[in-house]
Amino acid sequence: MNAAQPENPCREEELLAEVIARLIGDVRHVAVGNASPIPATAALLARARGKGRPYVSLLQSRKHNFFTEGGRELFDCAGQGRVDVFFLSGGEIDGEANINLVSVGDYTRPKVRFPGSFGAGYLYYVVPKLILFRTEHSRRTLVPTVTFVTAPGTSPENVYRPGGPIALVTSRCLFTFDRARRRFSLASVHPGYSVEDIIEHTGFEFDRPDLVPITMPPSPADLQLMREVVAPELAEIYPQFAAAVFGVRGRSSD
């Protein structure tokens, strides 16, 4: 029985990527924005599992990016519903899935400044499966109410809104989002954490079933795909991440 200890135990990044790959599901096109190595891992894992489908567009990549019309093509695609899955994070995320990527405090003299909205002010509305991803799970990031609504979690009925958040993945757990109720629900807790941990470190209220399952770790086959197929692909745009997590060295971008 003791021999069951795996030779290469699953790393946190691998667990999160596999959770996200499951959320991606059976779709045609997954796009991944800047500075998102774990969602990129998930998208490439989904593609490796699907033997080439879904199409994956890593916006920073040359190889894993089929766009030929410049930066706007992704947004034009998304506007037509041709991007099924996208990922966003938030400096702050609140219980109604409003996200803040701009600043905290008075806008003209902020206390904290984040990089900015990137495409969130648009993609959050039009991509059907928008997955929120934020590794830091704390009361600093998961707040009761965001101070600057960079993009709202839900919209009034008359606002064109074919897309929006379906889930929030953090280093501690997976929340699903109910657009009608405008609330998160705790779907599973990652190994090593408890429901109490989640309550303690979450600044907003959320629903939860009486019995919250533990997040399933990736299968040995998935781990192998991530380490052998996905990791070298990642190294092109996330050399530091690929080296730190998978021990893979980056090659030049050609």
């Binding site: 500075a35 990089p115 609504v149 064109y160 971008s253």
Partner: protein, 273 residues
């Protein structure tokens, strides 16, 4: 075709005057870094910098060096190397006036300018606080629909677009490949200044394979050769980013003193990259 557009770098940058609206591309499309360092050395001031639609080291350097009065963009970040420290400090100190955007809005505003039309409509944004800080963006009721609010962004016509490309020919045509946003920027801007890795021997428009990825000289004001001109950033398909240098930058630029040392060493010293 007597008139040459080819100049030494400093002279090619002459159209970028103090106070102008300057559009620059995101890192993935090739950021003209040699030109950026030359502008800092020239002490260009009061730029309205439009980073299309985001920026990294380029905007951070220009802001830290005191060249930027207004910044119009969707985000500035050093990616894997974290927050852009000079951008962050300048916005918190209120030194730089922000015109907050979201990526497709900048693309749309430039497309309106390239079509010569006053505005473009765009989905999304309704209910975002970005609209609160962008009073020049309007929400109207879709005239072809019913009770359907939609955002309009005004055309954005930069005074100058500054881009970097793999090559240009002797008559001013510039090969941009599939970086089509560079074409949109050049179409929209009053003038376009280009740095290139190398000069192509021949007419880029004469070869149908190259012509499709070529920006005609018609749109171009000046060209300068700047070999390795994106360093320390990458020129996709040509060379990779200098990761060690970028890590050093992130560390140095965390303080004003460190940033000043960086400028001294890598910008004013005119390091041959």
């Amino acid at each position: 075709m007597g008139q040459t557009m080819l100049f030494p770098l400093e002279e090619a940058l002459a159209p970028i005057v103090d106070g102008c609206v300057l559009a620059v591309p995101r890192e993935v499309a090739g950021a003209p870094m040699a030109a950026t360092r030359a502008l800092i050395r020239r002490k260009v001031r009061r730029l309205h910098l439009v980073a299309v639609p985001t920026s990294s080291l380029q905007a951070d350097l220009l802001i830290g060096a005191g060249c930027v009065e207004t910044l119009e963009t969707s985000a500035v970040s050093l990616g894997e190397f974290g927050l852009a420290p000079r951008f962050t400090a300048a916005v918190i100190a209120g030194i730089v006036k922000m015109k907050e955007a979201t990526c497709p809005a900048l693309h749309a505003a430039l497309q309106a300018a390239e079509k010569g039309t006053p505005f473009m409509s765009l989905r999304g944004l309704v209910g975002s606080d970005i609209l609160e800080v962008r009073p020049d963006w309007k929400v109207i009721d879709n005239p072809f629909g019913q009770n359907d609010p939609i955002v309009l962004v005004p055309a954005l016509k930069p005074d100058v677009a500054l881009i970097h490309a793999p090559m240009a020919d002797n008559i001013g045509n510039v090969w941009i490949g599939r970086q089509r946003e560079l074409a949109t920027m050049a179409h929209a801007a009053a003038k376009t200044v280009v740095t290139v890795e190398t000069i192509y021997d021949g007419n880029l428009l004469a070869d149908p394979v190259l012509a499709a990825g070529t920006l005609p000289g018609f749109y171009i004001e000046t060209i300068a050769v700047a070999t390795n001109g994106c360093w320390p950033l990458s020129l996709p398909d040509h060379y990779s980013a200098d990761l060690e240098h970028l890590a050093d930058y992130a560390q140095l630029a965390a303080t004003p003193e460190g940033f000043a040392r960086y400028l001294e060493q890598f910008v004013y010293e005119r390091r041959a990259a």
